[in-house]
Symmetry: C2
Subunit: 329 residues, 2 copies
DNA sequence: CCGGACGCTGAAAGCGCTTTTTTCAAGCAT
DNA sequence: ATGCTTGAAAAAAGCGCTTTCAGCGTCCGG
């Protein structure tokens, strides 16, 4: 059932049906009524493909994320989807797992389908801007990168000041009287680097200069947190505070500390990052840095929408995280 | 840059370019080489829209979920996306939040865009099959419903036997010596009903007939779990085992029990459901029912793909969950 | 040496819309 | 009564592909 069928049944031309459907141009009330009656009793669904063919935008947004199962990305993607949906867009999603090839494959696919805009969620995607295979696709539609910088003509960023976030955690621990702090780096991203930098700087600010030696590397998981603590305790170094790069890792840190007979926060205070549900499930509930994924997502959507509609001026923005104090520190 | 530009530069017709691009029909090596050279030095991207217009499938799958932020749905959606991506499809996502209007709006949009198939993730979507507004769209493309039944021509289900899952939890608790069991129902879905039914049946099987009176209603959250326990303890009824409908609720149950001075699992054993990361973060780690979202997703993808390619025969399937024993029971 | 088959390529139609252009008729002023 | 204007609706073009069909040259067998 297409527009020709409707036109034939209503005894008008397809352009008239189109005018009725899109509510534009002049149509007499009588003609409009006749078309609408036919429309009502048919189950006609206009083809967005054909509409796209005729030059109208398809109103779809491509969202690239590392892994939607990570709560932080889920929250970001959720808000992006909801907000674009509210604005009449549909969102298409890809979990690249950080695989460059996967990102390129997907970017090609959405370019072929004429996506109206692209949102990259995760600092890892900043690489794509300088990737000769990926960059051409990123020029075909406006791009917004959540949590990372990208240098391309029609691309902007919404950044979170993770350096500041880590510094907030350090300051809080110090205010509690902690002096022997460590920082757990559980992933190799720009964002993790920023946290470490914030940690080191905050220590320097307090007159402690060996911050760089107080960074523990491990994996982003409960087991990762546990291992980091085991290694730390085995080293015999004194510790009374640990800043973690992720709540899930922090929960492993807490678990290992308790297993070693240490009390949290009395003996060792621990902070998480992302203020996820894990922070509330963990016992004791984690003090965590809220980096506001919903706010970031909202800003991404607003920015991308104005980019699509070319209602500038545009600019990248940076937001500040906040510390949420609970029981672990 | 379109196929006409390529054809002109290569000095051939567009049909020849099309043949080269799609690797079909006969083209001499010389002609093919000439076209490919032009192709290589251009940044031509074929239009999937135009290809769709010409009758080819666009290879997009629509996925409806309640809320991607719920880990169980995130795991399901993730696997669906990855598997379809691997098969050359793109997935579009909508979080309906259980809103009928939102589902309908989205179904209309994807129908207009000629989605090749639809996956409904969550038992709540079984309503759509009998919804006069939604059903027409569900007839336009094959549909697979994860975790619920739907009665429509081209629709099939992948079910999890949640009755059995709850029964597994009951049996485990009884084997530990628990006798005064309760079940926490934290949401009003078909799936939650099945769990309660499994709970009641399993009790009956053990000679306990008042299972129906042992169901506690609350919200699906940490607070929900806490409230259920507070109400239960206030009632003065004896309890030594609690079966929960979700890990997150179970974590609240554990927290409230401990706050009341009860030991888990020694005084009261607790089981969760979904075997999510929450079960591992919780202290003590939750014994939980694994309802295998990845397996369900894989089966959905396989089923939907064969539906799309009409390589039958098709049939709905039911899978059995398994109990994962940890420290809480 | 000619007819038919076959391989390669181009021409053209068609997919379902939007939009521009054209047609037509009615209404009005001169 | 003629010419103009105006508004409604039809006609037609165009979007970028795929695919069918037709044309044309070549090769082979009779």
């Amino acid at each position: 059932m297409n527009i020709y069928d409707i036109a034939r049944e209503a005894g008008v031309s397809i352009s008239t049906v189109s005018r009725v459907l899109n509510n534009k141009g002049n149509v007499t009330a009588a003609t409009r009524a006749r078309v609408e009656r036919v429309l009502a009793r048919s189950n006609y669904t206009p083809s967005a493909i054909a509409r796209g063919m005729a030059g109208k935008p398809l109103r779809t947004i491509a969202v690239l994320t590392v892994d939607i199962r990570v709560p932080h990305y889920a929250r970001t993607a959720y808000t992006i989807e909801r907000e674009f949906s509210r604005r009449g867009y549909e969102v298409s999603l890809c979990n690249t797992g950080g695989e460059r090839a996967e990102a390129i494959r997907y970017l090609r696919a959405v370019t072929e389908k004429h996506a109206d805009g692209i949102v990259l969620v995760g600092s890892i995607f900043n690489q794509l801007g300088s990737d000769p295979q990926a960059a051409p696709f990123l020029r075909e539609a406006p791009v917004v990168l959540a949590n990372g910088r990208i240098d391309l003509p029609n691309s902007y960023s919404v950044l979170v000041d993770d350096r500041h976030g880590a510094a907030l955690a350090v300051e809080h621990l110090m205010a509690r009287g902690c002096r022997d702090l460590f920082c757990v780096r559980d992933v190799a991203t720009e964002s993790a680097e920023a946290k470490c930098e914030g940690f080191v700087r905050a220590l320097e600010h307090a007159g402690i200069s060996d911050g760089q030696d107080r960074i523990l590397d491990t994996g982003q998981s409960i087991a990762g947190g546990e291992e980091a603590v085991k290694a730390l305790l085995a080293s015999g170094r004194r510790v009374d505070g640990i800043v973690c790069g992720e709540d899930i890792t922090a929960s492993g840190v807490v678990r290992a500390l308790r297993a070693a007979g240490l009390r949290v926060p009395q003996d060792v205070a621990v902070t998480g990052y992302n203020d996820s549900e894990y922070a509330r499930v963990c016992d004791p509930a984690l003090t965590s840095v809220d980096n506001k994924p919903e706010l970031v997502a909202m800003l991404c959507v607003q920015l991308l929408e104005s980019l699509i509609e070319k209602t500038g001026p545009f600019s990248s923005v940076t937001i500040q995280p906040e510390l949420v104090v609970r029981d672990s520190a």
